[in-house]
């Protein structure tokens, strides 16, 4: 299918974006700002947890790791209309973001559990 045919399908579905961040194919392009800005809060909280060694965060961090891994796994099976378009790139970017955040949470959990061992 040509780009024009994909654009027509987007218009049919009522999902054709024409605003200021438009990438020309009917999608908004925020240059990855969404995942980066969301990640800032998580990085900030991770830094505080590591510096304060707060053990009450172990359960929420584990829940976060499981949640992010499951979401990333689900994203892997999403099939976009255009097999090589911007939607697929965005989905893959989110898969990576979820994996990175999830595994960071796992490493911090392990650090909290084993920090007595590291302090020796």
């Amino acid at each position: 299918m040509s780009d024009e045919a994909y654009s027509n399908k987007k218009i049919e579905q009522g999902k054709y974006y024409t605003g200021i961040f438009s990438d020309g194919n009917g999608n908004p392009d925020f240059k990855g700002l969404g995942p980066i800005l969301k990640g800032i809060l998580y990085l900030f909280v991770f830094c505080i947890i590591v510096s304060s060694k707060n053990k009450y965060f172990i359960f929420p961090l584990l829940a976060f790791f499981i949640a992010k891994t499951l979401i990333a796994f689900r994203f892997r099976y999403v099939q976009t209309l255009n097999p090589k378009g911007n939607d697929l790139f965005f989905i893959q970017m989110n898969t990576l973001e979820n994996n990175v955040e999830g595994f960071l949470a796992l490493f911090i959990t392990l650090y909290l559990l084993l920090n007595r061992f590291f302090d020796r």
């Binding site: 700002l33 969301k38 499951l70 099976y77 209309l81 965005f90």
Partner: protein
């Protein structure tokens, strides 16, 4: 690519999308397409359309951490906490808008439901963070 184009030509009359319905024939067509692309999931939690379905468990897991973190930030006066929360709100809104414009292969399958859940998830996350920001503002006033 040729297979992909052929599968698009084999669509039903009322829709141009591949295997939109839930009939046996539609599901068989979709399964063949997904196997060819290597995206057919057949493990535990699988749906008839070949996708994993974890329900709302992943979203709840993320909310637990988000609420716990925001409570921790709101109760302790960290210097840059408000900026980090503001970034999260803006990021969630941008992510929500971008996900709204994602077009999935089928118009009524599991993928579009998941994408809609992700849009809602971003909106709820932004709302929780906004309420926390409001609480911090009123507390420090």
């Amino acid at each position: 690519m040729l297979y992909y184009m052929n599968s698009f030509n084999q669509t039903s009359n009322n829709s141009n999308y591949l295997a939109d319905g839930n009939t046996k024939e539609d599901l068989k067509k979709l399964k063949a397409h997904k196997i060819a692309n290597g995206t057919f999931y057949s493990g535990p939690f699988s749906t008839p359309r070949g996708n994993p379905d974890f329900g709302y468990v992943p979203f709840l897991g993320e909310y637990i951490f988000l609420i716990f973190s925001l409570y921790f930030l709101a109760s302790n006066n960290y210097r840059f906490a408000t900026y980090a929360i503001l970034c999260y709100i803006v990021g969630s809104i941008l992510n929500g808008i971008r996900f709204y414009y994602v077009n999935t292969l089928t118009i009524s399958g599991d993928d579009i439901k998941f994408i809609k859940d992700i849009v809602n998830h971003n909106i709820i996350g932004a709302t929780i963070a906004s309420l926390t920001l409001l609480y911090i503002y009123l507390k420090n006033k």
